[in-house]
Amino acid sequence: MASDADPGGNPLVRDNDDVDPHAPGASGVPVLREAVRAEAGEAELVASVLRRDRKAAARFVAAHIDAVYAYARHRLTPRVELVDDVVQDVFLAALDSLAAFQGQSSLRAWLIGIARHKVEDVYRRRLRVSEPLEAVEADEDPRLSAVPAMEAHIDAARSRDRARQVLSRIPERYGLVLLWRYWEQRSVREIAAAIGATEKSVERTLARARERFKELWLKEERHG
């Protein structure tokens, strides 16, 4: 976190996420001051981009693209080839609606909100264009329901990599529906409405997806 004695710091590239109220030695007043400065910096950046200032646009991209990229990449794994288009769509959509940005959240949070919608657009498109959910389900192995129960404790650090590996190995529709339901925390009803399917059909696909995921998860675990 930059202090007031940091004249070289560029307030235009900071955002509220840099303000860490739990930082050692941090007291409330400097944190509040920093937050106010960050907010003012964001407002200035937004005004400059709206004025079509190209240098401000460069700062806008430089300051936030890593966060948007990380979010999109995480949510679209294993289809990482889709990430670049989503990130570009996010920034263009942000530019189109920047005049409506009120500063009620940080710019980064606002951009991540747009990214979330764009990622869900990808889920929706890909689940819609592929074959009906039931068509794949009919080919599933009924023995999958015999997958043993999984351990209760999940280690976050290791599970992230393993989850990514498993998601890359299950059918795309299964991965998407799991990401949508659990990572994006959308209800079955919302998913069904978005792709024009019945809730029952989404439930069945989810059940199959969970079984397939667990099966591969346990395999990964056995093989270290």
């Binding site: 400059s48 079509r52 200032d53 190209r54 240098k55 979010y71 530019l95 189109d96 129960a149 659990y182």
Partner: protein, 109 residues
Amino acid sequence: MADDLWFERLAEGAGAPIEARAPAVLKAKVYSAMLTRMAESGPLDDLLHSKRAGERLCVFENSLTLLPIGADLRSKNPCRVCHARVLAERMEHAPIFWPGCPYSEFHNG
């Protein structure tokens, strides 16, 4: 449902976005796309304004501010015909080192 709970916990624990830096090529492409979109709705801000505001201009942009030309030309986007942009959008470690060039800063920043 036990399965639901397990997946919810997995997503919660493993759901934090990974630390990842966007490739410089992507930064360059997004910036170019933004400039194109900005220019669609009107001329870009005059480079003289940027210069007076203390912004760093590249050598080409700076030359536009020194020539006896109108604001309409200074509001054009010279990056569209610049080799630095072309390289930056195609190579991850593009050999561009122009001071004040945003494409160079995406790659070397």
